[in-house]
Structure formats: C-alpha cells, structure tokens
C-alpha cells in the first residue's frame, strides 16, 4: 500500500522546503519534484517578527504552496543549543552520560553513535511551526556528518567544522565513531563595541576563560551547552589582547569591519575552546589534530583562516556547501522518494 502510494505520489508535484534561521530572518529554499525531475528551485528570505516567531509573510507563502500542492515537506535545521552527540546508540547507556532518555529525541547513525536534542526544544520548534506544520527537524551534526562522509577520507586526524551564519558545528571522528562534538551559536546581534567595552569594565567579576559547564563534569562532556551571553562577553574578556589591538585599529576601520572582526574572534574562540576541551578530556581517545575542514555555508573571511593556521597551527581546507540543498536531500531521503 505504501509503495503504491509512493509511486502515485511521484506522479504529483512534491515540494521540499528547507528552512534555516539566520540573523533575524528565515532563509528558505524549495524545490518542486515531479516524476523524479526537478521542475523548480527557488530561494526566499523572510524576516522574523519581534518574538522570533514565523512572520505572516512566511506563513502566507507556505500556506499558498500547501494549498496548491498536495505533498509539501517542510524541513528545519535545528539551531538549538540542546543538541549534541553521544558515541553510543544504546538507550540504556544514556545514564552514563547523565541523560534521561525521556528528555531527549535521538537519531542513531550507523548503529554507532547518536545525535540527540532535547524534547522540549523539539516541541517548542513544532509549536513555532504549527501554523504551517513541520515535517522534519534535522540535527546540525547529522548534516555535518553527511558533508564529512562525502569529503575524501583521510588518514590524518581531522576536525570537521560546519560554518553557518549563526552557528558552528564541530565533529571529530575516530575511525567510524565520533569522539568529539560541539555546537555553538554565533550571536547575530550587531556589536556595539563601545557598549561592550563599558560592560567589560564594569563587570569585573567575570571570570576569564570559557565556561563550558560541561568541561568541569566528565559525564557531561558531550553536552556543549554554551551560555551565549557569557560567551559573548567572555570572548571580549578572554581575548583582551586581540581586542586591544582591535581597539587600536578601530579608529581607522569602519564600524562594520569591526563588527566583522568581533565575529571572527568569537568563531576563533569557539573553535579554540572546542579543541582545548578535546585535548583536555581524558575520556576522548585523543589524537593530535592536523587538519581542519571547514564546510562553509556562509562567507568566511580570510582572517579566521589565517588565525587558525597561524595560532592553532592547523591546515585549513575549505569546502563550499549549500546547507539548505543538503537539508532538502536529507528530507527527500527521509520521505524515501
């Protein structure tokens, strides 16, 4: 019965929509497939409303598609911090990692490791997309895993980093299993340098160093819960040297350049903290990282590449990717189309 339905379904127009949130807008790519041929592909941008909810524009647009076509599949890339990975697929082992199975939704990969996310976040996202109905919610890790699998297999130990406008996803593999994973959100808030500087002066009690709560506890190593607000501030705090040099440059460079620079610093710090965590941990079967492959969905500046190469002494390889296209491919695979 299901097979017959699929065969019939293929004769109709099927729309696969990939939505990601970026800065203060939703980026949407959709393709229309009929008889296994792509008959249309288009991209759209919709701004978020004040509460970061779906604006009426996007609801209207997708509703019109849903009215026009029978088979509309909407996929969203999860950008919540509650997602991470575990090197097991066994639900019984979750307790070892201090995770309650009831609190998470997980997807097993190759029967060796799982990507998970908090049930609350999934519910919240479903609620958010209720007006249009969400079909698939994908983990950034699975997306990165797909890119990493497609990339050439290499002998050297490699750190895979998926760079998007508002998030960083990091995976390190050991053979086939996963040994390290981290997810960071990049704050899109435009930097007001002076304000932050003032803040830094006032908040003297802010400790230096990145406080990834989970670093302290071995059990929570995989939970890269990052306190964004803190990080944001921490970066400046931690990176006072860079900032001070930046401060010198500020007079000559425009505010925009400065904002960009701040962003690069944050990304660099995230990467650095992840690598530090990876090396510090006893639990990881630590191998020295030689290469970094950056899967770039956004515009990555040369500055950060230089920083990684010069300060972390890693070889950087850049792969240009299209996240939304991959999301669509994943949703097509999910539908078993």
């Amino acid at each position: 019965m299901n097979k017959l339905k699929r065969i019939i379904q293929k004769k109709f127009s099927n729309i696969f929509i990939a939505i990601i949130s970026e800065k203060n807008e939703y980026l949407l790519t959709y393709i229309i497939i009929k008889n296994e041929n792509i008959i249309k592909k288009d991209e759209k941008k919709f701004s978020m409303d004040e509460n970061k909810q779906l604006s009426s524009d996007i609801i209207e647009f997708i509703s019109s598609l849903q009215k026009k076509y029978k088979f509309v599949y909407i996929s969203y890339l999860l950008d919540s911090l509650s997602q991470n990975c575990l090197p097991t697929c066994d639900d019984k082992k979750l307790k070892q990692y201090n995770i309650n199975q009831k609190d998470i939704v997980s997807v097993c990969v190759k029967k060796t490791w799982m990507a998970y996310a908090s049930k609350t976040d999934i519910k919240w996202i479903n609620q958010k997309f209720k007006p249009i109905g969400l079909d698939f919610t994908f983990s950034s890790f699975l997306l990165l895993n797909n890119f990493a699998t497609n990339a050439k297999q290499r002998n050297k130990n490699t750190l895979h980093m998926q760079y998007m406008e508002n998030s960083l996803t990091i995976l390190i593999f050991d053979n086939k299993n996963i040994v390290f994973s981290a997810f960071f959100k990049i704050p899109y808030k435009e930097f007001n340098f002076e304000e932050d500087e003032l803040k830094l002066e006032n908040d003297e009690d802010i400790t230096s160093g990145i406080e990834l709560e989970n670093i302290e506890s071995e059990e929570e190593e995989f939970e890269a819960f990052v306190d964004i607000s803190k990080l944001e501030e921490d970066n400046f705090d931690d990176d006072n040297d860079i900032l001070s040099s930046a401060q010198e440059d500020i007079k000559s460079s425009s505010i925009e350049d400065l904002e960009l620079y701040g962003r690069e610093v944050i990304i660099f710090k995230y990467l650095q903290s992840a690598i530090e965590e990876y090396y510090k941990s006893d639990n990881y079967s630590v191998a020295f990282i030689d290469d970094v492959i950056i899967y770039n969905d956004s515009n990555i500046s040369n500055d950060i590449i230089n920083m990684i190469e010069n300060d972390l002494f890693l070889n950087v390889e850049i792969h240009k990717i299209d996240v939304r296209e991959e999301i669509i491919n994943m949703s097509i695979e999910e539908v078993d189309f």
Partner: protein, 172 residues
C-alpha cells in the same frame, strides 16, 4: 527516521471531503449496479416466465384446436345418437303401435320394418279377420297396402302384408 528528530505529517493523496465524495459515488455506483442487476434479473425472470407462458399458450392453443375438433366430432356423434335415439323411439312406438294393432286371433311370424315400408309375415284364421282387424288400420296408416294370403294345411292362412308409405315427392 534516518535523520529527522520528527516524523513527517501524514500526506494524504486525497483529502477527507474528496474521500467522502468518492465513498458516496462508489456507494451510489454500487447501489445502481445492484439495482441494475436486480432489474436485469427481474427482466430475465419475467422473460423466461413469458417464454414459458408463450409455450403454454401454444400448447393450450393446440389443445383448444384438438378439443374443438373433438367437440365437433362429439356434436356429430351426439346428433347421430340423438337421431338414432329418436328413430329408436319412433321404432319402438311403431312396434308398440303395430303390436297393439295386431288382434289376438292373428299371430305374427316375422316383421320387417323399414323406414318407409312394413312387411308382416303371419298366420290368420281367416282373410276377413285379417282384413277387418289388421288390414283396415294398416291401410289407414300406409298409402299402399297389399296382402297376399296362402292357405296352410291346418286351414289357417299365412299372409304376407307389404305396406309402403309413398311420399308425394316420390310420386312426382
């Protein structure tokens, strides 16, 4: 679930209202088909019974013809029987009358009765006895009445009386 944390919403090929319509149409079509079948069945059974009745009619018609023939035959038979009965009655009456006519003195030996003639053989004591007692009534009944007498050894007369009714048509 290969990648997704969530399951896709069920995409129906046809929505609920269309399903209802299709269900309704299917029901109506089935109903009509059943009705059609019923009607065809009825027509068929009526046809077959009509055929049966037609055959019966044929048989009945044949029987009617046969019976009519029979009836005609029986009517003929009846009329013949009636004729016979009537002539028998007449004969009976004639015989009775004849025997009534015959006086005690005269003995009849043989009587031949035909439709228009009467021949009597008998014995009479004398010619006159015959002539008075039997001859005169015979003459009154028949147009022609001839009697021949023979004298017997015992002195009585044997006689043969031939009487005929002569129709006027015959005369002509």
């Amino acid at each position: 679930m290969k990648y997704s944390f969530t399951k896709p919403k069920e995409k129906e090929l046809i929505d609920a209202v269309t399903k209802m319509w299709i269900g309704f149409i299917v029901f109506v079509v089935l109903f009509l088909l059943a009705f059609d079948f019923l009607i065809k069945f009825k027509i068929h059974s009526i046809d077959s019974s009509a055929n049966e009745f037609a055959q019966k009619t044929e048989v009945a018609k044949k029987q009617i013809k046969k019976l009519q023939k029979n009836l005609i035959f029986l009517n003929k038979q009846r009329s013949v029987a009636e004729n016979i009965f009537a002539s028998n009655t007449i004969l009976k009456d004639s015989i009775k009358n004849l025997f009534d006519l015959v006086p005690n003195q005269i003995t009849l030996k043989k009587v031949i009765m035909k439709k228009k003639s009467l021949t009597i053989y008998g014995v009479t004591p004398s010619k006159d006895t015959f002539n008075f007692l039997l001859g005169s009534p015979l003459k009154s009944i028949f147009q022609s009445s001839n009697t021949i007498f023979y004298l017997d050894s015992d002195g009585w007369y044997r006689f043969v009386s031939i009487n005929k009714i002569i129709n006027d048509e015959d005369k002509l």
